[in-house]
Amino acid sequence: MIAEYLTTRFGLPEWLACGGVALVQCLILLGIMMFAAALFTWMERKVAGRIQDRLGPTRVGGRFGWLQSVADGVKLLAKEDLIPGEADGLLFRLAPYVSFCAAFCVYLALPFSNGWVAQHLNVGVFFIVAIAGLEVFGVILGGYSSASKWSLYGAMREAAQVVSYEVPLGLCVVIPVMVAGTLDLVAIGNMQRGWGVNWLVFHNPFLFITFFIYALCTLASTNRAPFDLAEAESELVAGFLTEYSGFRWSVFFMAEYGSMYAMSGLGAILFLGGWHGPIPLAEMLGLSYANHAVLGWLGDLLGAGNFLCKAFLGVAAMMWLRWTLPRLRIDQVMTTCLKYCVPLAAAMFVGTMLWTYALPGGLLPRSTPLGAVAEAPPWTAPRAARGERP
């Protein structure tokens, strides 16, 4: 741990070292989330434009409109900040930050590479699923406190949708966890190292189908089209967001883009090998801790880049679907969840269970056995294994 290094090497008091390290980690994560939100708002416009045979933003910041997000940000900050006279002011102000905090807390337990995680939790998957479900709370608060029936209906649509889609999403997350045998995200990622055939999505045909159900449920739980009934800006006039403007409105969207990236990251770790690519570049180049600490660190850095790319591709797929498919009606949304996703996910659960009982090795020949202990830098081991006081 860096905090222990600081206390022993420089004689800093414990609270200062721990607090400083925690602050730096939070700032890094906040930076990643903000950068992702800015990049994705720009990308959303470009993707929408290209799919609709337009150019998208072209003027701001050069040929590709790179600085469009900055211009948007300045515009939103300068907008008049309206609060309806009838509204419950405290809750109205609080609501966007509740959503943002929930989206941000997901990043606390999301590993970016082998051991590169702000808080290495033994129950990482479970924590992320629990926290990600809380994002809807800000939406309900926002809809309720606006004192407008329109907003309240929008919030209720969203609540019904998100609470329903928690069920198949949870089932889909459990299935790779069952194959991996652990809830620890770092361990699940390290299990899939080697060539792409080691990814859990190729473990058996049931997991392959599960991945697509997971992707569908992720779309619904992050309120992306074709499931964005809560907002539905073209038909239902932005639901719970009707009364929001300016900075608070943009905080809701930062939360949405942040959680999109986090959920694709979770999918990348659970199904697509996390930081272990289709080609094991780091192992080919000999970047491992067995050779040298710096080489191992470089290998982890490469893994982090790999992971960020996978999560980015996941978000790109979400945008592609958004601008390709028409929006569903609320009854179709609920039918998709309760009549198709839940039974399918349950069937995949039973199928994977039987498969792991009969063929624990998986379908394709693996370059490393599933249970092989991955090498890890010493500081990634949970505290008790190192025999220390927390």
Partner: protein, 205 residues
């Protein structure tokens, strides 16, 4: 001794208690729910501080997430107009105060009666013993293997440590099925109209 552990404990404990008081004091249903969620989330922070990761995540999932559903139903069922505030009579205050006060006194008595909790040193080192590796033992206990009680020497007690968690879980799933069945039986039966009745209704309308 003041360390960061103590600071965070005091912080989370203060948040828990302050928002618990706010739940009682506020009169608006939604504000109550918000305070309740803040209080429960701070309790989850206390669990994380005690390196009980699984319980903390459970707290977030079940209590904080459950309160969310409570909030939805609270709004849907009670909100006849915007921002209804509850009227609480002195008799209600008295009853609630008696019940709550009795429970508080009981808990305080129980907490002060344990000798091991009186010394600070024991309390500080207690969380380090388990170290957050609680998931595997809990999973094994679900299957009937209590990892923490394998060294039980007394053969009379060894029969009991196998654990009843799996039967317990089966019973809970059974209860769920019963609830679903009850909801199915109790729902309002909507009689389907004959097919030829529908055009008549539309014509008269």
């Amino acid at each position: 001794m003041i360390n960061w552990h103590t600071c965070f404990f005091l912080l989370f404990a203060t948040i828990t208690c302050a928002f618990a008081v706010a739940v009682v004091v506020s009169a608006n249903v939604v504000r109550m729910a918000v305070c309740l969620i803040a209080s429960l989330a701070a309790v989850s922070g206390l669990y994380f501080l005690a390196v009980a990761d699984f319980v903390a995540a459970m707290q977030l999932m079940i209590y904080v997430g459950g309160t969310l559903v409570l909030l939805v139903f609270g709004v849907m069922l009670t909100a006849r107009g915007p921002f209804v505030s509850m009227k609480i009579t002195p008799a209600n205050w008295l009853m609630a105060g008696l019940a709550g006060g009795a429970l508080l006194i009981l808990l305080l008595c129980a907490a002060t009666s344990v000798d091991a909790w009186k010394t600070a040193a024991v309390a500080a080192s207690a969380p380090a013993a388990e170290g957050g590796h609680t998931v595997a033992p809990i999973g094994m206990a679900l299957l009937g293997i209590r990892v923490d009680a394998l060294e039980q020497a007394n053969p009379a007690l060894r029969g009991g440590i196998a654990g009843y968690l799996l039967p317990f879980e089966i019973v809970s799933v059974h209860l769920l099925v019963v609830l679903v069945g009850a909801a199915h039986l109790a729902r309002a039966r909507r009689r389907r109209r004959p097919a030829e009745a529908v055009p008549d209704a539309s014509r008269s309308a």
